[in-house]
Amino acid sequence: MTETTPTPTIPLWQDVPSDALLDVRGVSLAFGQVRALRDVSMHARRGEVTAIVGDNGAGKSTLIRCISGIHKADEGSIDFDGERVHFRSPEEARSAGIETVHQNLALVEDLTVWQNLFLNREIVRGIGPVKLLDRGAMRKEAERMVSSLAVNVPAVGARVRRLSGGQRQAVSICRAAGFTSKLIIMDEPTAALGVQETARVEELIQRLRDEGHAIVLISHNFAQVLKLSDAVWVMRAGRCVAGRRTAETDGDEIVALITGARAGDLADEPA
């Protein structure tokens, strides 16, 4: 750690490593009059936790929704794993290896844990042309996925409606990590959790990183960002105003960048 935090000579958004897993360039998206994203550029490296921070409404969720195929950017490009991608649906992003844990917990409460884990990834058995669900295989595999978690999740046959917030989050993360994903995006995974549950989800994130997963983490918790991330991007009013290697910054600088008290890396940024 450096004792001072000088603005880097080359802004991080221009300093893209050649083997970056995710490279977002100049992405813009407007919802009618609301310009949710304006010329956003950021990237994420393999095997790292990349954090995105910013106030509510800064555009963080919209950005990751563009990456995970829910929204389609009006402008800009997204390269993933060395290829230009134009996802038209979440299905395409998932096929490419991007799994997302959405902020609003994309679980179906009336389905069971195993049904949620395998939603749209169901294992089927062919009986002639008819393909029936292999429920036994899915339950068994779900048991395996869930038992590898550091978070205690009740029987995989339990309906999600009965789970606590932490357990639901664990199921969501488990689903994202369970399939052959190259990138796991988590949108405020600990926002609704208590202290203990947060600690457990953080352990989970660290473990996934140690297992070689690349993770994009959106968080409001600076301590968490500093502890878990390798790089951090700051968003403000639809723009990605700054990027830092986490080791070269501190909480104060990030707060200043978020609030705008400190100018970001963008040359044309209004004061």
Partner: protein
Amino acid sequence: MTETSTRETASGGSTSRGAGAAPHTPARPSRAAGLRDLSNWADWAALVGLIVLVVIFQSLNSTFLSPGNIQSMLVASAILIVLAIGQTFVVATAGIDLSVASTMTLAAVVFGMVFTAGHGLPLSMAAAVVAGAMVGLVNGLLVARGRITDFIVTLGTLSAASGLALILSDGKPATIISAPLLKLSTGSIGIFGYSVIVALVIALIAHIVLFRTRFGTHVLATGGNAEAANATGVRTKRVKTWVYVISGVLAGIGSILLVARVGAAEPAANTAFLLNSVAAVVLGGVSLFGGRATIIGPVIGALLLTALVNGLTLLGVSQFYQPLSVGIVVVLAAFLTRFQK
């Protein structure tokens, strides 16, 4: 009744998981699970209601449970069962199909036209089913792609389909004389008439589709949380379209049973079938908010409504009281579903 709905799997044991992991969140005590299951009794309102009705009617009139009367009740319930199953798929996605009965009427008229033109029974039946499917497709596309409220769309097709039936038939019934159709409406195996066997086979297939196929899971997921289903890549619009097609196809099959029973294809409004199909679904414990459904529930709901009407008729209660009693039973059932978890 091998019921393996989400409902049942959901009440599976509550063994604590991850023995190696630290005892984080305590596992649910299994006793609590048992109690919760008791609260699911509301899901079985239809079965309880049916049993209560049977006991009451049997004690008032001993011919109620005679084989002959059971057989006629089953036959009388066949069409409603078929329509209620279609309605169930739509309601499971949090939609509603108000056009089922008119679609059936239109399909019956199409049946009559093709048959009268001398194209034979198989082609007439196929035409009826295709006609139903087309109405369903229009419903589905307007709801899913056109983003118009299901209520308005199907209210529109309700009117359009019965209007079309009147135009095509010129308002006149077409008499259908066909030995196989007569057999369909009168033949039986034991106390099970052929028409009710058709309905039960459809119920079995529907059960398998809903609980044993990807499509079925996606139907429940779409109804339970469309946004979440969509985020996992489930094509919720396609699912929403297909459930209306299913409902339309079943209305087409219903029209065949109807023509067989009446012996004619008439452009008559079958409003009671619409109300009763929704009623059977509600009685069957299917959530109108979507995401929770069974097939067996609405089937029992349809049997209950048929038994109610049959029993009242048997007791000599004026026909005028039937709609009233159906209404009371349905509101009562809807009231019970408030206790659903």
